[in-house]
């Protein structure tokens, strides 16, 4: 018998595959888990996140739903009430508004109004974010709605490693989680990475430092993390050292990592692609102003989308969204403050 051993070839995986693996592994691990959404069965979902799941787990556990986000979410709550764990897919996160009442009044409040008798292990996930020409109804980041609804966890991974580990953590969390996936990252080659072969999770509520720096802190999440990293590279060319923090989770929020960074840099900009007014960037800036004011040498700032919908064609779209140029310009203003 040949003793030849072949060294395993390192396989880099994209963000979408990472999500698919998380779902497949959790479905295998938990026989009382079910996935439901529009076109998620034979088709495998509009983007392919649920590819192959129905073939493995059957059409009773991977369910093609009518076009009714309210029924998708409401029935998921009922299943959770009766012992199951449910992944509810929104075909685009923009459509989550059609199920809004079931999320904020039914699901988010369930644990609270039953004084702890019931908890709801449901993950509502879907593709989010702009920069792809998706226009008004295929580009949204509406996370602030749900951050403003007590009882929901709200997360947004930016790497394949986090996408898999956080989705698994969300499915085991026991609370309702709104899971923002960045569709522009689904198949982005530059961020593909090797994933552990063993089971792992990335705990919700822990931020990650993506780049160390000492002059200014750029706080972001989702695809804007990459805009911040590109901005940091440009800033380095002009002698400004920027630290980049990826929040990963908005509720619960890792304030400590943010404040520790500001203690070092004394300057901070929060960057996100949601509209500015009452957005999460505003919330974070308020917390920094209240709790870390003594650490600051300049006013905390934000670079967000303008208070407009996301328009379709490229010049219009980029006009309203955060860009590397806009982040660099604001960083220079804050550094010189």
């Amino acid at each position: 018998m040949s003793a030849t051993t072949v060294a395993p070839v390192a396989v880099k995986k994209n963000y979408l595959t990472a999500l698919n693996e998380a779902l497949a592994e959790e479905m295998a691990r938990n026989p009382l888990m079910l996935c439901q959404g529009e076109d998620i069965g034979k088709l495998g979902g509009a983007f392919g996140v649920t590819e192959g799941l129905q073939a493995t787990y059957g059409d009773h556990r991977v369910v093609d739903m009518p076009i009714s986000e309210a029924a998708i979410i409401g029935s998921a709550v009922g299943m959770a009430l009766n012992g199951m764990t449910v992944m509810a897919e929104m075909q685009f996160i923009d459509f989550i508004s059609c199920g809004f009442d079931q999320i904020v009044n039914m699901m988010a409040t369930y644990h609270y109004r039953t004084a702890g008798e019931v908890h709801i292990p449901v993950v509502v996930r879907g593709p989010a974010g702009a920069y792809g020409g998706g226009a008004l109804y295929h580009s949204q980041m509406n996370e602030a709605w749900f951050c403003n609804s007590p009882g929901l966890k709200v997360v947004c991974p930016s790497t394949p490693y986090d996408a898999k580990g956080m989705l698994k953590a969300a499915l085991r969390d026991g609370n309702p989680v709104i899971f923002y996936e960045i569709k522009e990252l689904y198949r982005k080659r530059e961020i593909e990475e090797e994933l552990p072969t063993e089971d792992y999770i990335v705990p919700l509520g822990k931020a990650a430092i993506r780049r160390e720096g000492k002059d200014i802190t750029l706080v972001s999440y989702g695809q804007n993390v990459y805009h911040c990293l590109d901005a940091a590279a440009e800033l380095e060319n002009v002698g400004v050292s920027a630290e980049v923090i990826d929040l990963r989770s908005l509720v619960p929020l890792d304030e400590e990592t943010v404040f520790n960074s500001i203690a070092k840099t004394s300057r901070v900009i929060v960057v996100n692609e949601a509209p500015m007014t009452c957005g999460f960037a505003g919330e974070l800036v308020a917390r920094i102003s209240t709790k870390a004011f003594h650490l600051l040498d300049a006013p905390p700032s934000r670079v967000t989308r303008m208070d407009t919908p996301v328009p379709w064609v490229k010049p219009l779209e980029l006009h309203v969204l955060p860009t590397v140029d806009k982040i660099v310009a604001e960083a220079m203003r804050i550094v010189k403050f």
């Binding site: 009382l32 009773h60 009714s68 309210a70 009922g78 009044n105 109004r113 008798e117 007590p150």
Partner: protein, 374 residues
Amino acid sequence: MSAKSGSATAERAEQAIKPSQNLSKEDCLELFKQLYLARYFDVRLIKEKKRGRLRGTLYSSHNQEAILVGSLFGLAATDWISPIHRDMPAFFMKDFRFGVDNPNRLGMSIEEVCCQVWGKEGSPGRARDNWSHIGSKSKKIIHSTSMLAGTIPVAAGVVYADRMQGGNAVCLTYNGEGSTAQGIFHEAINYAAVHKLPVITIVENNQWAYGTPVEMECPTPDVADRAKGYGILGLIADGQDVFDVYDKVMQAVEHSRAGNGPSIVECKTFRAYGHGDHDDDRAMKYRPAKEIEEGRKRDPIAVCRKRLIELGYLTGADKTSYMAEGKNAGESSNDDFPPEIIEFMNKGIEFAMNSPMPAAEEAEQWVFWDGDKP
């Protein structure tokens, strides 16, 4: 099985002996007693409120008791219910016929329900939300909210999960005809019909949605007609007749148990008071007095009494004892109700009034689940 053959099953059931014809004398007298119990719960709370011993709004089920009593009576202990604001007695009357003191009964105690009404810590939800916004996972009662028809999809999910785990439970959801205008009413029934889920949507058509008459809410006279559009069973019951409600709901339950899916059971009834007790006086502005007078003539207690006399189950002095029918809270007294019912309510009310409110700090608790604590 196709929707068409499902309807055929229903027709056959209609031709067979009515389920109520199989009820024993004891069962029939129990139904009669439960009508009194539901009525007394309502009358007594209105009196308590008028005496200033109670805060919060009451949503009276007066004159609609036959719907609750008749629909609950034939359920198995494994079945679920989803009551709303006008169904308050359902919380303690679920599985009542198994004996109120039976520890295995899956219904709330009157003490728990009164604690909820009075906002005390003994409430199943520890008085975090008001009036009917309670429920119990262990007792298979879906927790209600203010979003009408909003629990129908939850009910569908509950029975889907039950089926996945090998069960054969049905879920009765209670709704007013006003809630049928909500999008979720359609979305949830459509979903349940696609999957043939055993969800029975009871529509208590009491002709009024708060201050709006039914003709301004529904374009057709019968809500049950909508069942055709989903290919599901649609039935109309006389909501004043506990036996007819029992028959129609049991027909729907058997239809579901046989795997034929959901149904709509419309119970025609009449709202005796305002939307809530806060609205009783103002209700006279939008409701003709004659309508109220006419409606009261078919009191469910009177309808049941007539039937029991015909069946020979009420004879002699029993025929006219405890004449609670046709009287509103102000007109009725304790003499109109059997003493054991008054005693039952007294026990609940005393317990609630002597119970503490929850501690203020509890307001911050249970926003998130933190794992199973020992």
